[in-house]
């Protein structure tokens, strides 16, 4: 790789052009336009006299409601990430360490199945589970454990449960790759030297899998803060997050400028996460090269 990097691009390099064109026209241009729209007073196509303005951003800073929305979005993202990590790690560890090939294939199918089921479908599933007359409440009532249905839906807890279910496969797949690369003999050595399996895990495997934890967490967080379907359906239009607010500005108010400004805020948060994610993945591959 390093020897070819010094040579000049060859004919095959031209094959990048169609994708480059796609990205230029349908990715960079639209995001650039979004940035421009966020500082304009109106739509330059319909309104001939548009001027530069910072009022969309000023509106966000001037009203604590928008801070509340951003904080709710980040809070839901953080809790989702933490829970996804806690339940994703054991499964990823099992997948990485399981010996039988068919066992691994079955686990992989189990992890991929929810991933392939579609966000709307899975949110529907959680609505049937969490609603007042849903599976969980009906079961608990018929068992006599509760007399009144628990309020599971239309709460942040409900949103988090749904989001964790949707994004935990991403965590598992990221972690499995990293844990799989950790030499199992290191754990065995620790156990041979007298450490309990738990201690060997905490002192050997866990620290070595930190880059994977970081990469998986950043990925899940980035996905969770941009979720729309699950927060709106499981939150019953009562809990406001940034993506819900953005779509509302377009669909209900047609305030394109303010939607663009909110979009830029979400983009900034996400870009920071993407950079951090690439750094974390760089750590993972750096580790692989060292081995």
């Amino acid at each position: 790789m390093s020897s070819t990097a010094t040579t000049r691009p060859n004919g095959l390099a031209l094959f990048i052009l169609p994708s480059a064109l796609l990205f230029a026209l349908f990715f960079f241009l639209p995001i650039g336009l979004m940035a421009v729209m966020s500082v304009l007073t109106g739509n330059p196509v319909v309104m001939p006299k548009v001027a530069f303005t910072t009022r969309h951003y000023a509106r966000m800073i001037g009203d604590p409601f928008y801070f509340e929305v951003i904080w709710t979005t980040i809070r839901i993202g953080l809790v989702t990430t933490l829970v996804a990590l806690l339940i994703g790690y054991p499964l990823a560890h099992w997948m990485a360490r399981i010996k039988s090939r068919s066992g691994h294939a079955l686990l992989l199918m189990a992890v991929l199945a929810p991933m392939l089921t579609g966000i709307v479908v899975r949110t529907f599933a959680w609505m049937t589970l969490l609603s007042d007359k849903g599976v969980i409440n009906e079961t608990l009532i018929s068992l006599g454990l509760i007399s009144q249905p628990l309020k599971l839906m239309y709460t942040e807890t409900g949103i988090v449960v749904g989001l964790v279910h949707i994004y935990v496969p991403f965590m598992v797949l990221t972690l499995t790759g990293v844990i799989g690369r950790i030499d199992e003999r290191l754990e065995q050595a620790a156990e041979n030297l007298g450490a309990s399996p738990l201690r060997a895990f905490i002192e050997v495997t866990l620290p070595l899998s930190l880059p994977g934890i970081l990469a998986g967490s950043l990925l899940v967080f980035a996905l969770a803060i941009s979720a729309y379907v699950t927060p709106i359906l499981l939150g019953g239009f009562q809990i406001m997050t940034l993506p819900i607010l953005i779509y509302q500005q377009i669909s209900a108010n047609f305030n394109v400028g303010f939607a663009a400004a909110l979009g830029i805020i979400l983009l900034m948060i996400s870009l920071l996460l993407v950079i951090a994610y690439n750094r974390a993945l760089g750590l993972v591959s750096g580790q692989r090269e060292l081995q």
Binding site: T4, R8, L12, A13, F15, I16, P18, S19, A20, L22, L25, F26, F27, P30, I31, L33, M34, M37, N43, V45, I87, L91, A105, L107, A113, P114, L116, T117, I119, V120, R122, T123, F124, A125, L129, K133, G134, H165, G177, R185, A189, E191, N192, L193, S196, P197, L198, I225, S226, V229, L233, P243, Y247, V256, G263, L266, L267, S270, L271, V274
Partner: protein, 286 residues
């Protein structure tokens, strides 16, 4: 390398240690398995529940189910809105798969073989739609189409879907190209094959599994795509996830369950096909 050196002197000690560890291990092992089975149940139960509600005949959520009926499947397949959405989704998914596969595979080829400068940055850029909120891609494209006054055409939707599915094709194709013995191509050229012939007779057959895997991912992701579609579909011409979402806002009957089962079955057929033809194992690394 060091393990062989440290292995022999401590040969007696580990046997003792493993014996004491083995006594404590069963409980830890059972706990480990129990936790993991609970997690698997959490992952899979909602899918099972969807199937239960698709077959339960009552027009509202009722648990335990009171019977088995296919009325929601009949309603789904008889509904003009759902059928139109299903076919439109398939159309968009096919068009997206074709364009994402051609663009993504050629981009991967250029990145792996074209000696391009700044390859790492280009790869990071091409994979970025995976991590950037898809709702932003939808919003930005929506604004662009409004500004350019082009309406909400199908090609605009397909372009948006191509953008968010391209990374999958790039990634799976790059994975194959990196594990690829370039000496095979050199050998073909040394034996007198032109670069073009080498490409069609050596490179293309060898990267086919990666391209195919990427294509299947692209199809599934496009078929289930929601946030980009939300902004780019026109009323009366909606994709299945958007139609399901709009239905779900007001109705919670078994039709959604039936539609879900249809899409689950479709996804499983595709995945099993993928596993049979190319093997999933090497392509799902994130």
């Amino acid at each position: 390398m060091q393990t062989t050196a440290s292995h022999s002197p401590s040969l007696a000690a580990p046997q003792q240690a493993t014996r004491t560890a083995a006594a404590a291990r069963p409980y830890g092992r059972y706990l480990y398995l129990a936790v993991n089975i609970a997690i698997l149940a959490f992952l899979l139960a909602p899918i099972a529940i969807v199937i239960v509600f698709a077959l339960n005949p009552t027009p509202f959520i009722q648990f335990p189910p009171v019977g088995v009926s296919l009325r929601w499947f009949e309603k789904f397949f008889a509904s003009r809105d759902f059928m139109h959405a299903l076919w439109f989704s398939l159309e968009v998914a096919v068009l997206t798969t074709v364009s994402a596969t051609i663009l993504g595979a050629s981009a991967a080829l250029a990145l792996a073989r074209g000696n391009l400068p700044g390859t790492r940055l280009i790869v990071a850029t091409m994979l970025s739609p995976l991590m950037l909120p898809a709702i932003l891609t939808g919003l930005a494209l929506f604004q662009t189409y409004v500004l350019l006054d082009v309406g909400r055409p199908t090609w605009g939707l397909v372009a948006g879907h191509t953008l968010v599915t391209l990374p999958y094709v790039v990634r799976t194709t790059l994975a194959v190209l990196h594990n690829f013995d370039t000496r095979l191509e050199e050998a073909a050229q040394n034996l007198g094959a032109s670069p073009l012939r080498t490409f069609f007779e050596v490179t293309l057959p060898l990267i086919k599994p990666g391209v195919l895997a990427g294509a299947i991912f692209a199809f599934i992701v496009s078929f289930d795509q929601f946030p980009v579609s939300l902004f780019l579909v026109s009323p009366g011409n909606e994709t299945l996830p958007v139609t399901l979402f709009n239905y779900l806002k007001f109705d919670l009957d078994g039709t959604i369950g039936a539609a879900s089962v249809v899409s689950i079955v479709l996804a499983f057929v595709v995945v099993i096909g993928l596993d049979r033809t190319v093997g999933l194992r090497s392509y799902v690394k994130l």
